[in-house]
């Protein structure tokens, strides 16, 4: 078991890669009451076309399979896993994102037992025709719920206007039509391919005894056998640099229009140093211009183009990346035009040392604040680990950023052909 102490932030992390390939991280925090465990596979909604483990031909599965699989892992032949956790005082949950499927729980007692339950239920699938059919009604209601949510429609609408071919443009839950065709065989195929220990990470953080925990996990894994892992072959189509649609308008009954500007990232498949630099600078620069009180925010605020629904976000993944800036606005055309103008002006924008130092301070403080949350630590650690980056070494990395790095980033950040505008508005008439 490896032990690494990060003195500046007061954390000690234990880790091990087990014989079957599973990566385990344990972060004891005895001052906390609760513990949080997450078992995550590097498999999400974008992994739609791949070569199944042990086969040679590539297949494409229906939209929404990863998410469907997530739902179905909770149901076993004789019981529901929610109840197992319930009996042990734990609250379980799960999520499917573009790139990951994760199963998790939080509890304040019986942590070891709950971790065991977590590993065991994820590693013991049971899918039947009947239970797959039953789930379709539940997921259809989940999809309908999202259909009525303007914020989600704005988010996915912006993604779809940015990406031409990349499967990130597919709805994570699929559509009511696509899930109808999902079979138990689809689930097993995806399961065997992507839930191999080699493709998974377990992270436990909180109040527990480290040695004992690692011993339990190691023993648990030794008792199970897995097929030999082959290299995972996932296929992604070529994605041009330009956005799919410069403008995309979606009609649904809203009291006030919603407008979102998407910035598609130019290059992906970056080396880890470059990835981290982009990741940090991307969020620092967006925050510099667009956080409350930022220069661009102030212009939008004074021109009455935004309200307090205004938001921005940025997401950089291995083979795609984007940022979004959006708000409820009575004047979507003016809002979009103004933001585009602001973004295009950044190419020539000059930062000063003083300003950049403040940006770094802000980023460091934000990170420390986020680390109050066990969920944040576990999720983000896994996210960065997938890229070969260590979350606990990010603060020094921020301190090490130079003004030149930022200036160079700004020069390449925006290009007109990589901007998309998505508007949600009520149908006319």
């Amino acid at each position: 078991m490896n032990k690494q102490t990060y003195e500046s932030i007061g954390e000690t992390l234990y880790s091990e890669k087990l014989d079957n390939g599973l990566t385990v991280f344990l972060l004891p925090k005895p001052e906390m009451t609760k513990s949080f465990g997450i078992f995550s596979t590097n498999y999400g909604s974008i992994d739609q076309t791949f070569v199944p483990l042990g086969e040679s031909a590539e297949i494409t599965v229906p939209e929404g399979v990863a998410h469907f699989l997530e739902h179905k892992l909770f149901e076993k032949e004789d019981r529901d896993v929610f109840a197992d956790f319930g009996k042990q005082g734990a609250s379980p949950n799960a999520y499917t994102s573009f790139t990951k499927t994760a199963y998790l729980f939080s509890a304040t007692s019986q942590i070891e037992k709950n971790v065991e339950t977590l590993i065991d239920f994820v590693q013991d699938p049971y899918f039947s025709e009947q239970s797959v059919e039953k789930e379709k009604g539940i997921i259809a209601q989940e999809i309908k719920m999202y259909d009525d949510q303007p914020d989600w429609q704005a988010f996915m609408g912006t993604i779809k206007s940015m990406f031409q071919n990349h499967p990130v443009k597919i709805d994570i839950a699929g559509t009511v039509e696509s899930i109808t065709s999902i079979t138990k065989d689809d689930l097993y195929t995806c399961y065997h391919t992507f839930y191999h220990p080699e493709n998974m990470t377990l992270f436990v953080v909180g109040n527990f005894e480290v040695e004992q925990m690692m011993e339990m996990i190691t023993l648990n894994q030794k008792e199970k056998s897995f097929d030999k892992m082959a290299e995972l072959k996932r296929d992604f189509p070529e994605e041009p640099r330009e956005v799919a649609m410069k403008e995309n308008t979606i009609h649904m009954p809203v009291s006030i229009p919603k407008c979102t500007i998407g910035i598609k990232d130019s290059d992906t498949e970056l080396e880890k140093e470059e990835f981290l630099r982009r990741d940090l600078l991307g969020s620092m620069i967006l925050s510099h211009f667009f956080s409350t009180g930022g220069e661009f925010y102030q212009e939008l605020y004074k021109a009455d183009l935004i309200d307090d629904s205004f938001y921005f976000e940025t997401n950089l993944e291995r083979n795609f990346g984007y940022s979004m800036i959006g708000s409820n606005t009575a004047k979507p055309e003016e809002f979009a035009a103004k933001i585009k103008e602001q973004l295009l002006s950044t190419k020539k924008y000059a930062l000063t040392d003083e300003v950049f130092e403040r940006m770094k301070k802000k980023k460091i403080g934000q990170l420390l604040r986020a680390m109050n949350s066990l969920e944040f630590i576990a999720n983000k650690y896994i996210h960065y680990h997938t890229m070969g980056i260590n979350l606990f070494e990010i603060i020094p990395a921020i301190q090490g950023l130079s003004l030149d790095d930022a200036q160079a980033f700004l020069k390449e950040w925006i290009a007109e052909e990589r901007l998309a505008v998505c508007t949600i508005s009520a149908a006319k008439g």
């Binding site: 001052e31 009451t33 609250s91 539940i138 303007p150």
Partner: protein
């Protein structure tokens, strides 16, 4: 694990609460300003938090204020208003990184407290009111917020349920206020109200984190003081309205998914000894994925993606929420009613009872691991006018018996069924 010690002091017209904890990488300051719910003041109180975070005497606009926050290692300032029972509470929060985790940082604490005090006591205002541009702009923002509720169908259905259920009671007042009152509101009146609020409202200040108490006390003494006037802020006894007649309200809109929300009177509040049993009742009934609602509405009948319940502790209300296909209304309503009846009949095992208690205790402990969550739990005592340490709360839950749950269930009365459903035959775009 830390035990939570809350130290209370009454100084300079402020009720101070100091909570020492090494769990967090931040220090949190929270001010809670409480008055009774009143149609006359609710719109003003909804607007004030938005204006206060726009600037102070020393940092007159949002940019200047934000630069200061960024300089304090990305300190985060938030302010909003909310309802708890028949009280309105304005909350102002400042969370900043604990300087002990940042090399070379000092004075963060001192400056942060001074800033917090400015936001609260020294806004950017003159004799005739707040900065006029800010006032106008925030009136506009709040209007948009009031209208945008319609776009979030879950919140909208919840608001409409309370409108119908609590027609004659202060609790029905909308937390964001009313457009017609905003239209006639003068800047000067708002400023006068703010002055009055500072003198008359009950004000509690919480400080949470790893800090030196004497130092904090000293800075507070230096920067915050107020002269308290006996005002009108004493809260009336909560209106207890008997359910005379159950009502069913059906509304139609262009939606994909119907929202079935049901309101009940629990006839039990935070002040009652049966409050603990009520919490356990809610846990068994609809608080968790192992609860009756989730199991029966979702898992057994595939009618919904979500089906859950929530308590309003100070007013004595219980709400059920579910998202269903429009055609399933009667079926879902009847299944929900059966679950209430099952609770009244004591149709749950000792084992389920114990598991649910563990889940609630787990949930509470988790909330206490979060700075804002812990402060919210502690503040319940002020609202409920009943001293209850976190340990007493947890013990209270632990000691609940089956008989007590059945007894408290016997007092739960259905009041209003509210359904938001799709326009007949039409499928929204």
């Amino acid at each position: 694990m830390d035990t939570i010690q809350e130290k209370r002091l009454d100084e300079q017209g402020l009720k101070l609460h100091f909570i020492q904890s090494k769990k967090f990488k931040t220090i949190t300051f929270v001010a809670k300003i409480k008055a009774k719910l009143d149609k006359e003041t609710i719109t003003k109180r909804a607007l004030l938090p938005y204006i206060l975070k726009q600037g102070t005497k020393t940092y007159p606009d949002r940019s200047a204020l934000q630069l200061k926050l960024d300089d304090l290692y990305g300190a985060v300032l938030t302010a909003d208003g909310g309802k708890k029972g028949e009280n309105h509470i304005i909350t102002i929060r400042l969370e900043f990184a604990n300087e002990k985790f940042i090399p070379d940082a000092s004075n963060v604490m001192d400056e942060a407290i001074r800033l917090f005090s400015e936001v609260l006591f020294h806004p950017n205002a003159g004799k005739n009111g707040f900065d006029d541009a800010v006032f106008k702009r925030e009136v506009g923002t709040l209007k948009q917020k009031i209208n945008a509720i319609q776009d979030d169908k879950m919140s909208y259905a919840n608001m409409r349920l309370i409108d119908e259920m609590c027609k004659e009671e202060a609790y029905q007042l909308h937390v964001h206020g009313y457009e017609e009152d905003l239209n006639s509101l003068m800047n000067e009146d708002l400023y006068n109200y703010y002055q009055q609020m500072l003198k008359q409202d009950e004000m509690d200040i919480y400080v949470l984190g790893d800090f030196v108490e004497e130092k904090v006390k000293h800075i507070i003494k230096d920067t915050m003081q107020r002269t308290v006037q006996q005002g009108t802020s004493t809260v009336n006894a909560v209106t207890k309205k008997p359910v005379s007649e159950q009502q069913e309200i059906i509304e139609k809109q262009q939606v994909q998914q119907a929202k079935l929300h049901i309101g009940y009177r629990t006839n039990t509040t935070y002040q009652d000894d049966a409050y603990f049993a009520l919490q356990v009742f809610n846990g068994l009934f609809g608080g968790f994925p192992s609860s009756k609602l989730f199991i029966n509405v979702r898992e057994k009948n595939s009618l919904a993606y979500y089906a859950s319940s929530r308590l309003e502790s100070h007013k004595g209300l219980l709400f059920v929420f579910s998202g269903i296909a429009p055609d399933d209304f009667e079926k879902a309503r009847d299944i929900i009613r059966l679950q209430v009846q099952a609770m009244k009949d004591g149709d749950f095992t000792e084992q389920e009872l114990n598991e649910t208690k563990d889940l609630i205790i787990n949930q509470l402990k988790e909330t206490m691991d979060h700075p804002q969550g812990l402060i919210e739990i502690l503040y319940q005592q002020v609202i409920g006018k009943r001293l209850m340490t976190p340990t007493e709360l947890l013990d209270g839950i632990q000691n609940v018996t089956k008989e007590e749950v059945v007894q408290v269930a016997g007092k739960v009365e259905e009041d209003t069924v509210y359904l938001l459903t799709s326009e007949g035959g039409e499928q929204g775009e």
